[in-house]
Symmetry: C2
Subunit: 145 residues, 2 copies
DNA sequence: TATTGTTATACTCTATAACTATA
DNA sequence: TATAGTTATAGAGTATAACAATA
């Protein structure tokens, strides 16, 4: 990585990529007891935050292809966690929304996943937590690029 | 997420988990032209950093089960990027090491992945890059916990 | 014609269980 | 007996290509 060391910005890119990858894998390793997979949970989280969405919107949000989202959504339907309804004015579209069970599940799963991370953050200093909070905004910018 | 809003630390955990997950997915979406998958590249990266490792060590490093790593390593062997040799003193173990082609490939792939992120970081302010650099250390601490 | 979603099919990554070889 | 690795098998997630329904 000789060329990276020559450019501080490229070196930061390398370090950030590694750190984000490692942290992401570690966080995802903390699965909820409900047994929901990461993609399944993410769909519930989107619906919880943005309300009812179409499969196409969900696929775009997760940057996956529509057929993949169809599969994930259908799995959640079978679990009774989401509902598929006809779009009121466009017969081509489908509206996916949380069922009461899905709304409860997303809250519980998110809570279980956050418990571990919350405990970790609580052990940090206030200054360190502030650094991470600042990074959150920048990481979102990275993700949106 | 009523309970999260009541605790600033838990709220930060929730935001950090989301931001890290999104950034990680976005970064991984930048694949090298060589077509290596993320697990394949990660194994090459481990070998590049730590030198020869056994499949068991690689599995532990990536927090996956040994059979999964066997598959990934075998794929890399077929590509001519790593080599499997007998352990000098323990006949049960196998030593996986980079071939010259693998060493070149890991450098090139890593470089291609970093190009995109470097361009993004170059567009940020120096202060923002400093924030991310500070976060790198903390993210490593998260990953190691 | 263009858009939305699904079905069909295949590939990758992962896991658990059972097996082989060696310590 | 315990350990390291593999093989067998299965499940989940993703993709592309082709199709159906609707705008």
């Amino acid at each position: 990585m000789t060329d990276l060391r020559a450019d501080p910005v490229a070196e930061l890119a390398n370090e950030l990529r590694t750190a984000v990858g490692r942290a992401s894998r570690r966080i995802r390793a903390e699965r909820g007891a409900a047994g929901l997979s990461d993609p399944q949970f993410t769909v519930l989280a989107w619906l919880d935050v943005r309300g009812p969405m179409t499969p196409g919107q969900l696929a775009e949000a997760e940057r996956i292809q529509p057929p993949s989202m169809t599969r994930t959504v259908n799995g959640l339907v079978e679990l009774g966690l989401v509902r598929k309804d006809e779009h009121p004015s466009d017969g081509r579209q489908v509206v996916v929304s949380l069922t009461p069970a899905g709304a409860a599940e997303v809250r519980e799963t998110r809570h279980r996943r956050d418990v571990w991370l919350t405990g970790l953050l609580a052990a940090m200093t206030e200054a360190e937590r502030a650094q991470l909070a600042a990074a959150v905004t920048l990481l979102h910018r990275v993700a949106a690029s």
